[in-house]
């Protein structure tokens, strides 16, 4: 009974919070409801007994949304509402509705099919983290490694994009360095 109460509470709160994320014009409300929605989703994993996934959801999204906050801090005034430029609300409505419909069909399909069954059942005696580890390093090894390589590529790209002129200080006087460089170039000529 507790699980049902918790499920309906969590699902109601999640839907409301994500609605706020989409509808709100204040960046602070949008970000806060996004973060708390993500934290509440980890509650579903805990109800299902997937504790490891729940905690991973918590850790990953807390960090990820924290990074989003820092962008919001740089680009918006958090205490004012933002004026949005809507070009065509009919198009937005149509596209949003279509994608929502597709998502509902996708997630409702297993309910109507009889063929769904767990290929890798849980071992209650081993624990959640071990189960995830075994499946990740046997059946899904290649997707796991591909994801790792993609993350590595993204990291290198990030370092290259952000790393220009990292050997120079932003606070020190640049004009001295510039003069020296001009002198060196003149000497080279």
């Amino acid at each position: 009974m507790y699980e049902q109460i918790a499920f309906y509470l969590f699902s109601m709160l999640t839907v409301i919070l994500f609605l706020i994320t989409v509808m709100s014009k204040n960046v602070l409300y949008a970000m806060t409801s996004l973060a708390s929605g993500m934290v509440l989703i980890s509650g579903f994993f805990f109800i299902l007994g997937a504790e490891f996934l729940g905690v991973v959801q918590l850790i990953v999204y807390v960090g990820a949304v924290m990074a989003l906050y820092s962008f919001a801090m740089m680009f918006f005034d958090a205490t004012r509402s933002i004026k949005e430029k809507n070009t065509s609300s009919a198009l937005v409505f149509l596209l949003g509705g279509m994608s929502a419909l597709v998502l509902v069909l996708m997630f409702a399909a297993p309910i109507f099919s009889e063929n769904i069954q767990a290929l890798y059942p849980m071992h209650p005696e081993a624990g959640n983290a071990q189960d995830v580890g075994i499946v990740l390093f046997t059946k899904y090894l290649i997707p796991f490694e591909v994801a790792a390589v993609m993350l590595l590529v993204a990291m290198i790209a990030g370092i290259i994009l952000a790393g220009k002129k990292m050997d120079r200080s932003l606070t020190q006087d640049m004009s001295v360095d510039m003069e020296k460089e001009i002198m060196i170039q003149k000497d080279a000529k």
């Binding site: 602070l28 820092s70 958090a78 205490t79």
Partner: protein, 334 residues
């Protein structure tokens, strides 16, 4: 013995009551320890030896005027201190704070109820605690962004910087002990150290890294960038007064206790019996020692700049932590 719902509820109330009292008393201890280290006397006037100072502080906090700035986002402004305090206590729900006990049967209504040592005994305790403490940083972040104050914004930006710096170090440093023990449950850590000795001696590098990460996580002094008075007035807490500010304070001290408990259980042998000391006394002494260490460090070292913190975490501590994990892996394999 199986934990009943009533036992868990009692446990939650005990954690709330005792830890917030200890958090209040911690401020007195901090002022006294700092005072003795700096050859002062500290609070002396209220009660014998200044012991009643905490009561006076409490009365002051409760009766202070509660001010919300005109242009602030009122809802988020009110929400932020609650986030800090709540997440600190939620994190405490998954760590063993006091030993198991049964309420004596002569007490009416509650007699014979078994109260477990961990309120929520989940198998991935250590990750849950770290994740919940990380979520606690939303408190300073939202507080700084909601108060329409430039010092507040700087405090919030420093929160994000600090979070993105220490999180990797804490996670990687705790990974090597997890690999050795082979479990994420704090009870398993305790059992491992009763058989094989303290992890502090087999994993000294991880212990030091975890302590440094813990100092950054609880905003203790070498890394207290969020509200450093000399630089940013009071950082994220500039516009807060009265009980709202008090909630930030209680959350911070509860987080200090959580980090102390984590390092006591993971690295320092947990609540096993030690020589002639019974387990419950041993863990209280260990927790008190780590707590004292935090005050000691505060009295000894000045704080670092934000860019120095990022340099330290990403360029020094993270490579050391990765090397530690790799070496531990090789040793386990061989």
């Amino acid at each position: 013995m199986e934990a009943t719902t009533l036992g868990v509820v009692i446990k939650a109330i005990i954690i709330l009551a005792i830890i917030s009292a200890i958090a209040g008393f911690g401020t007195y201890l901090e002022r006294k320890v700092l005072a003795f280290m700096q050859r002062r006397l500290g609070p002396m006037h209220v009660g014998p030896y200044g012991l009643m100072q905490i009561l006076a502080d409490g009365i002051k906090l409760f009766t202070k005027e509660d001010i919300i700035p005109q242009n602030a986002n009122r809802l988020i402004f009110a929400l932020a201190p609650v986030i800090t305090a709540a997440t600190a206590f939620i994190a405490l729900s998954a760590v063993p704070v006091f030993p198991d006990f049964t309420i004596p049967s002569w007490i009416p209504l509650l007699g014979g109820t078994f109260v477990p040592s961990i309120a929520a005994d989940i198998n991935i305790g250590i990750l849950f605690v770290l994740g919940m403490m990380a979520a606690g940083l939303y408190g300073p972040l939202l507080a700084g962004m909601a108060q329409a104050n430039k010092w507040g914004i700087i405090g919030a930006a420093r929160t994000a910087v600090q979070f993105l710096s220490y999180e990797v170090v804490t996670g990687l440093s705790i990974l090597a002990p997890i690999m050795i023990v082979g479990s994420l449950s704090l009870v398993d850590f305790n059992n491992y150290s009763s058989e094989h000795g303290w992890l502090m001696f087999t994993q000294p590098v991880a212990f030091v890294l975890f302590l440094i990460g813990g100092f950054a996580e609880t905003n203790r002094t070498p890394f207290d960038l969020l509200e450093h008075e000399a630089e940013v007035v009071s950082g994220y807490a500039t516009e807060y007064s009265g009980m709202r500010w008090g909630m930030f304070f209680i959350g911070e001290y509860a987080n200090m206790i959580t980090v102390s408990v984590l390092s006591a259980v993971v690295f320092m042998g947990g609540y096993n019996d030690m020589w002639f000391l019974p387990g419950w006394l041993a863990i209280i002494l260990k927790i008190a020692f780590v707590f004292f260490l935090m005050l000691w460090v505060r009295a000894s070292w000045p704080h670092v700049r934000p860019n120095q913190l990022m340099w330290l975490c990403w360029k020094v501590l993270m490579p050391i932590a990765v090397i530690n994990v790799v070496v531990t892996g090789i040793v386990i394999m061989v």
